[in-house]
Symmetry: none
Subunit: 537 residues, 2 copies
């Protein structure tokens, strides 16, 4: 008999406290729908009435049906007042959601310093507020703020908070490590004590200030907590909240708790990436379970072992969470990386063939010059195609010229002139841009779009410049990495030169070339177009 753990997502409330995270009401609805499909048990939508976005969110939420329980967040009643007259509590009821989360103080220091009231009045605030919301028919959770710091300083008072909440009829008490400063062993001991103090179901809410939010949540579950509060990708105030994308698979795949249906766990990676897109926060490639590099292998010894058996360097099958294995090609890598990468791209190279040897030598030579193919699959594929005679260039480059002007009034302008040939026809285009590379991008697109109209849908999604040898400063070699997208497929290209414009041009041209060989994958593109059409209307 496995124990069930309830997942409480607060991406839409606590997650938005993170620096640089701002979600519109529409963003919130989109994310909530994804969370609902993923199967989390509670979705905290926001603080009803606190701002326009949250009002709109709760209003629009009524037009959807939900498997997850939507919850509204608010504080216990104000000191020295009555619950029935508390605007915040009444707004939680008016939100018309099935559950409510009340935040209440459980650290005596905070009662004195932040609330500036008495310990007894704080207990009354907690009890009255719970009773009032229960009376309104809500499932009520108490987020016991600073519970662990409170317990460490005054365990009797922290326990009194638990008891008062239980007496008032609360459904859950969620113990919060609000400052994120507790250690797993402390969490385990204090949760154990709480389990002995009250009979009501307990939950855990941790923060990542010591990089221990996930470990602390797991320790609490082992000690008896039945609900975990956290956010997608760990977004939240300061160092963030506990990351549900790490907690859910660990609880389910490694600790044998019952969390999500197994086939919904496979949506985890796509949900994580979707939320990162909507929140417009770059997802670290190395994010556990769901990151792009979470199952990426670079070291030569690792890669040759992975080829024999992927369990040698993978702790789970990436497919369980909807992620995939990747083989990176780099200077650290041996021949085995290149061969397996080529195989993944559909090129079966024979290691004993002298032609294969010369391809590998060419890659090593380019890496020595500063190229890095681990982040540039498309450039590697073009190189393999050229080497194996499977590449026909969609155009012939003739020349380009870029003029950048800057006047004393700080007005600057870049113009690019590109000359190339397609089917014996010379094409000359000029375009402006807010920098030389942007101008070049625009001019090249203009030159190609007449012959290859599909190119219009392709766009660049990332542009990175890395100075390779800083000792040469402005004369130094630079590496440019470009990422591009077309109908949901993404590819990366690389260029290296001591001239940043030339390096950018190289990566840019490779990116367009790769999009154009994509024409051979036309059926796939059409399929994707249709999918996009379906999704969009």
């Amino acid at each position: 008999m496995t124990t069930s753990i309830a997942i409480f997502d607060t991406t839409l409330r606590d997650g938005t406290q993170g620096e640089g995270i701002s979600l519109s009401a529409d963003d919130k609805i989109k994310i909530a729908r994804k969370l609902n499909a993923l199967g989390v048990h509670y979705i905290e939508g926001g603080i009803p009435g606190s701002n326009g976005k949250d009002i709109e969110f709760f209003h629009r939420a009524k037009t959807y049906s939900w498997s997850s329980k939507l919850t509204a967040f608010g504080s216990t009643r104000r000191k020295d007042s009555r619950a029935e007259q508390d605007i915040s509590l009444n707004r939680m009821i008016e939100a018309q959601v099935p559950a409510a989360t009340l935040v209440g103080k459980s650290w005596d220091f905070h009662v004195h310093t932040a609330l500036q009231t008495t310990l007894e009045e704080n207990l009354a605030m907690i009890g009255d507020s719970i009773a009032y919301l229960k009376q309104a028919g809500l499932e009520v959770m108490l987020d016991a703020e600073h519970f662990f710091d409170g317990y460490k300083h005054n365990p009797e008072y922290a326990r009194a908070v638990l008891r008062r909440a239980e007496e008032a009829g609360v459904d859950w008490i969620v113990m919060c490590d609000t400052n994120g400063g507790s250690l797993p062993q402390e969490i385990a001991e204090i949760v154990t004590s709480a389990v002995q103090t009250v009979k009501v179901k307990l939950g855990i809410h941790t923060h990542n200030d010591c990089e221990l939010a996930v470990a602390n949540a797991l320790a609490a579950v082992q000690a008896g907590a039945l609900q975990v509060q956290g956010t997608i990708n760990g977004y939240g105030e300061r160092c963030g909240n506990a990351n549900l994308c790490s907690i859910i698979p660990t609880l389910q795949l490694k600790m044998n708790y019952d969390v999500l249906p197994q086939d919904q766990l496979k949506d985890l990676t796509s949900v994580a990436r979707y939320v990162s897109e909507i929140a417009n926060v770059h997802m670290p490639v190395n994010q556990p379970y769901v990151g792009n590099a979470a199952f990426a292998h670079k070291g030569g010894i690792h890669v040759s072992a992975i080829m024999k058996d992927s369990r040698t360097y993978e702790h789970i099958e990436p497919e369980l969470v909807g992620n995939t294995q990747r083989i990176l090609v780099s200077e650290l890598a041996g021949q085995s990386n290149v061969l397996s990468k080529a195989a993944q791209l559909g090129y079966e190279l024979d290691a004993t063939n002298p032609e294969t040897r010369s391809i590998i030598d060419r890659i090593k030579e380019l890496e020595h010059q500063g190229y890095q193919f681990e982040g540039a699959d498309a450039s590697l594929e073009l190189l393999l195609r050229k080497a194996t005679g499977q590449f026909q260039d969609a155009f012939t480059f003739e020349s380009f010229k870029i003029i950048t002007d800057m006047a004393s009034d700080d007005s600057s302008c870049s113009e690019a002139i590109v000359k190339l040939m397609i089917d014996e026809e010379t094409i000359l285009t000029v375009a402006e841009g807010n920098g030389p590379v942007n101008a070049l991008d625009n001019a090249l697109r203009k030159a190609l779009v007449r012959h290859y109209p599909d190119i219009e849908h392709m766009h660049l999604t990332d542009y990175k410049v890395r100075v390779l040898d800083e000792n040469d400063t402005t004369a130094a070699k630079v590496r440019v990495l470009i990422e591009s997208t077309n109908f949901g497929s993404t590819w990366s290209t690389v260029g290296v030169s001591s001239n940043v414009i030339e390096a950018s041009w190289e990566a840019l041209v490779d990116s367009f070339r790769y999009a154009l060989i994509g024409k051979e994958k036309q059926s796939l593109l059409s399929e994707r177009k249709e999918q996009l059409g379906i999704v969009n209307h």
Copy 2:
């Protein structure tokens, strides 16, 4: 009596296995010098002889003196061969460093699958290799790869590895959770068993695939491990290695272990940010302890409580790790930073003066635009001088024009034309360069050198480009940082624009301007010239 924990940094070896991380020999030396100053006990430099960079690193490392012990990494001898004839082992000895880390298998599955040899031969490989390196006078550590997975599958064999290493005279056995799939409780149990199996000192090496690398390292220390291996910012293969920037302060400030001298712990934030700059990897704002948002407060309730007492929402004093509190919504943000930085530069600003307020507003506005003055003191000093009327421009900028050509034979050329005025005289110069910024640098120098001959001795020592908003790709804003040197004094400047040329120009011009106001510091320069003379001959 507090227990000492040895910190073993493998940023330069395991850290470079991370996707997108590539360090030149020069980068490695720079990072190693910072780690040495921070006071870590071991610095793993790389794999001697495996590639040109690592050879150069170990070669150049000999010219410095080290408080940390440099270590070389390599595998146990090849199967069915002799340690004395093993190229990899001999290269470790030839690296002439005091310590060596041998990686050896401790999971029977890996011995069969990856090494394809017998369990007994693997034990012999471990024993022979340790004995050979010990004989050569090295302090020897065994990185017992996959120790935890191995122990879970075949505890007897994992223990046999420990015993064989101990018999061979190893100084440390470091238990590795190579696949990053273990949980803290498993780690604690298995380390406890290892402590009972051998008397030799034990260490811990964890990976972050479950977001538990830090918790696992701490659990191992509590169970008796005396060395922690990890990397700065947690760089490393797949999801990364254990993050030393989180482990060090937690061990020292919360668990009362003796790790670094207290005043060196204050360098942690600057070391973390420095390594992120050198590796050109964006540091997440929410990184624990050292991130820019680690002590940033956004929520209204939090901010008002923080104003009353910062312990209400901070788990430690940020200054202990060299970080600072930031209030994201408050107007008071950053004022003390600016005042203390101005004081450092010799400008005593009065916080109550409205002029000071306007300087702070200007700096905040620029930071909002993407400027970063932490790494650009010279630009900040120029700004303070302008604001306080202590700046006279050595020249007036009129305009520049840059032309970059590229032909189909891949020959490219950049020419820059600069127009400026000095003492009512219009100066027009043109210069070539192997890129637009290099051409601009040359043209500007040519324009100034006739009036300011000292400029000839100044040169640029570092040039960095960072894309600020990756979503806008080639039209994105970039930040350029330039470091310059003149007679041993070094300064840094910054420029921001959506046009990389304009941002470079801004930083370049600030750099020359700063060199020119340096004329007022002539006596200081003369002094430095003399010092330089002494150092150089």
